[in-house]
Subunit: 347 residues, 4 copies
């Protein structure tokens, strides 16, 4: 019998939540107009409007990179700049997709805990050369929430960044691939964390939290939606049978399970962090605020994990563990045990 | 009780075939690496290699436009031209997506029954200005099979076009959004219709024939596959939980049902055509070779259909009916009856 | 002593007019801010405003393709379509540059004498699918004046086309690489031929009529100018020492010599056409309205020209002769003589 | 009588050197094929091959940004990365043109004195994710020589950077907008500073050193030249009357004057730096190695300069002075006097 693998690579290694799968099956009835002109999509948009406490426009897409690139293209000018943290997902892990869809340049700023700092943003925008044709012209700020290192912006921090951005004439995009984890951890409403804090367009990911290739471009400022259908088609992002993605997204926000799942993943990560930190030689390299841990482990521990039934990613000299809502508790226990014993033996 | 709607708009208005839905449900087990590095995708690639009788590379994507654009970008140079029929789907109905992904210009040629003619292609390529820097340089031929007007190329016709293209230094892309309908109608093998006839890359659509947002970029010449993963990521086409699309595609080709369904849809269309043609004043504007009919109807008939429980598209003065494998037979009967009675009354 | 070559290839094979060269030399004094922020450029803009009888914005560039692409990019949306005649220079001889700068698709329409027809344009735009996200959205009409085959639109014809374009929400671009030849031939004012006939942006070429790599993007609707400096810089079109191009353009329009030169070239072409047409077997394939002739010659005549001291281009089975203002009269005589004698001998 | 202005803004505020203007005038004879297929261009290419001590391909263009973008596009893949110093001209002052022409992302690295460090480059490339489709793939290194802050790489430093780049599979581009100043200051040959040090493509600027909108894309590795004509045309960079730019470039390198001029400008800058540095409170913020000075001046000095007959640029809190070969000596004296007196009075 093969050993059970404990998979900490990412939250997209998991499958679909039961109610999401049921929603797909339930949507398989009758005919529906293609490309999002269907009742499931209309109900989904209504659901988002309810949850976000205002009328929003929502476009279902299959990939997170597609959602980010479409969202940014709705804000774009083709000689422009998108400001973001230098570690932002759009800047590092999307193979230039935002640049491709927008024609713009990404300007990465440094910042503690992978977070943008309003004062530093203000200074950078002040030096950006607005009106100087030799310089790309800033048009958007990207806030990755949570960041790629699992840190969070409070609603107040988002609002402070948005205020700077808007003062300099930029629109604000939030990359919420793990938006559920942020909402669950911060305990504030989706509205508070987005449009009430100045966010204009949100990429809301459901895939990492129980859906199947289902992401939403949520346009919080309705004036920005007009060109999106064309941008999507041009980018190969318009789903033929959109109802099967819209049905997922509608069901996703229909009750509290999305936040329960995200909260459970967050709690597992906090527990794992607490237990690993207690082991000598183990050091967190970023605060654990959602479901991701970044650690520096003693070499013996890394070697022990490598030869055990564990799956995880290495980033340079650090390791990353991501917890899922359906992470098996014995996996957490086994991982902690493996590290603890390796360290003890290695001393 | 609402009247049953008879939907002839397109084959993507239907849902999922039972075994496809089962494959999605069955794939919802355990963890899997994201982005296509999973066992479902590997099994799918093996299945395609079996069906196409040679080792092929296959990339699962969610949209037909994405599949076409990715496939063409694998052949592209950015100062190039893609030759196609002037009515080709990529030229008319993809909002410039192939141009966006490739940087190339589409050159549409006329041709009877919406089909390219080898001699005309040869002449056009001879006048294309190979080596002249003021002219875009041809690099790809697109064959839409079946065409957007439901006509077919025989394997011999594909081979003749490919031979011209290859002689002029072009690669050949087949847009097979309805590939199943073509194979079912022509009764030849997928291999005969593609690489044995000179096709280098195929977009194989499963969505219109019973799958859920599942399309495949099938690279028949393995040397063309290297850059595709980057092109896909840059285009926002890489699926996070690819296993759920790969599982569909694997199941799709696993037995004869894909061809049974396509054959049934083709037969329904042939029957519908035969019965409509018998009505005075009804005229087919293109041969019915797969599951699509294009007709010129008397105005009274169009008005009658408009006020009945029918859904269909108009193209200028013509109407289009598309049949699905699960088209209800009473819908066919009702449509024929409606047209017949309207014409009789209108005389 | 080498035989004198008679060069009918194009009007850009000639050199600079004396006063243009003097303007360059005269501009070589003192320092001047780079990139067009200089007094020569300001005087040039004033000169254009005087000649065009309204305040215009003008951007000096070095190439005609650059001028067209920059002008069109000022009108562009990136999921758009530019309508033009299928033989338009931007559609055939600029290696995809307009598509590159705009992200748009060019839609070429047929039309007698290489000219667009208002009714056909109206019909095409009516079928273009405005508002349908699967279709590129028309945003600009390109009028090539004169056409690449040397035919002309009257001011009334330009106005009729512009009216159709504006009614469908398109802006109008005129490619005036040989604008001088058009104005000289039609005898109407630059204003009448452009903004009074609905043209929004004009590419005015001076290079083919006595200048050195000096072209102007003339923005007739001032509201369209804001983004052009950024578009130009991004396209590598901003001249460091712009004064040397602006000085040419200012001098070019400063008196009547630009029209005298163009008129002389037109007259030479008319004379050449008249004399060649009188030879049996010689047939004009397009009306000669400016300084270009397109002819079908007997094979013996082509062979005789090929072995004589003549330079000219062939287009398929036709030949093209272009006359310059400084064309040597003995070249015209020699060419006519060569064709006449060849035909006579060949009979 | 107006006060004489002393212009230290840039070296492109000056005019043309006498022999360059003579070359333009001399080229105005007879007809010549357009687009670079002329004898002046052929002689120019031969001249470059002589000066660079190997057969090179050379493409004349009108702008420095055009030269850089064309050169980089010859190396490009469209999902790629170009590594450069974070202050590189291509990264800051070209409004995204290199990204536009290549489709690639620029990755700016920090480095002392605005220079790239081989070890830091090696480390960055090691972490770049070669083969990982979520990451842009490095294909080119840009070396700006001299840097935008007037510092220089020795031939040995160029070779060390090229070696790192080539080991990681990158090609090397040198932005030599002020190549003459570098060669004059370093006293080594053009060949030593470029291909013998691993440079594959060079943008050689002549405009800032006495030419009129004349820049050269110098392809040192002939295998890279094939696509450049198409890239140029698509980018609107092909000059109609190329002979007038080629004639300048040929004359530019025909004798030692280009290096004499550059050396004189360098010497003036060194002298100005020496004299300003001797003034209390004046601090150089970068070593003065060519003809550019970057200084921190006391506020009183900046105010005094602002109200005097001086023209110069401010960069944040610093000022920049650029010397030209034809800088009037009394301007240098006046500037030094103004600063010295302002500082003395301000104490």
């Amino acid at each position: 019998m093969p050993e059970t693998v404990h998979d900490f690579r990412s939250d997209n290694v998991g499958g679909a939540a039961p109610e999401i799968l049921e929603a797909i099956v339930a949507a398989n009835t009758g005919t529906a107009a293609p490309y999002g002109d269907d009742d499931w999509t209309r109900r989904m948009i209504q659901r988002f409007s309810d949850v976000f406490e205002r009328p929003v426009q929502v476009f279902p897409v299959a990939t997170g990179t597609g959602a980010n690139s479409v969202a940014l293209s709705a804000l774009a000018n083709p000689y422009g700049a998108i400001y973001c943290h230098e570690t932002a997902h759009i800047n590092v892990y999307e193979c230039g997709s935002p640049e491709f869809f927008t024609g713009a340049k990404l300007v990465g700023l440094p910042g503690r805990d992978c977070k943008l700092d309003p004062a530093a943003l203000d200074e950078a925008l002040g030096l950006a050369g607005r009106g100087n044709p030799t310089r790309v012209q800033p048009f958007a700020l990207n806030i990755t929430q949570p960041t790629d290192f699992g840190t969070l912006y409070t609603a107040g921090e988002v609002a402070a960044l948005s205020a700077v951005a808007h003062r300099h004439g930029l629109r604000v995009h939030m990359d919420g691939a793990r938006f559920a984890n942020a909402v669950a951890a911060l305990g504030c409403s989706p509205a508070d964390l987005t449009w009430r804090s100045g966010v204009d367009v949100l990429s809301l990911g459901a895939t990492k939290n129980g859906a199947i290739n289902a992401e939403a471009v949520v346009v919080l400022d309705p004036g920005l939606a007009a060109a999106i259908p064309y941008r999507m088609k041009r980018g190969g992002q318009v789903l033929s049978k959109a109802r099967f993605v819209s049905a997922q997204l509608e069901r996703y926000l229909a009750d509290g399970r999305w936040l329960e799942r995200a909260g459970r993943a967050n709690a597992l990560a906090a527990d794992l962090a607490r237990r690993l930190e207690a082991i000598p030689g183990v050091r967190l390299v970023a605060p654990v605020q959602v479901n991701m841990l970044f650690l520096r482990l003693p070499d013996v521990a890394v070697r022990a994990l490598d030869s055990g039934p564990f799956r995880f990613y290495k980033l340079g000299r650090d390791v990353r563990f991501v917890c899922r809502a359906d992470q098996e508790p014995e996996g957490i226990d086994a991982l902690v045990k493996c590290v603890r014993e390796a360290v003890a033996a290695g001393r």
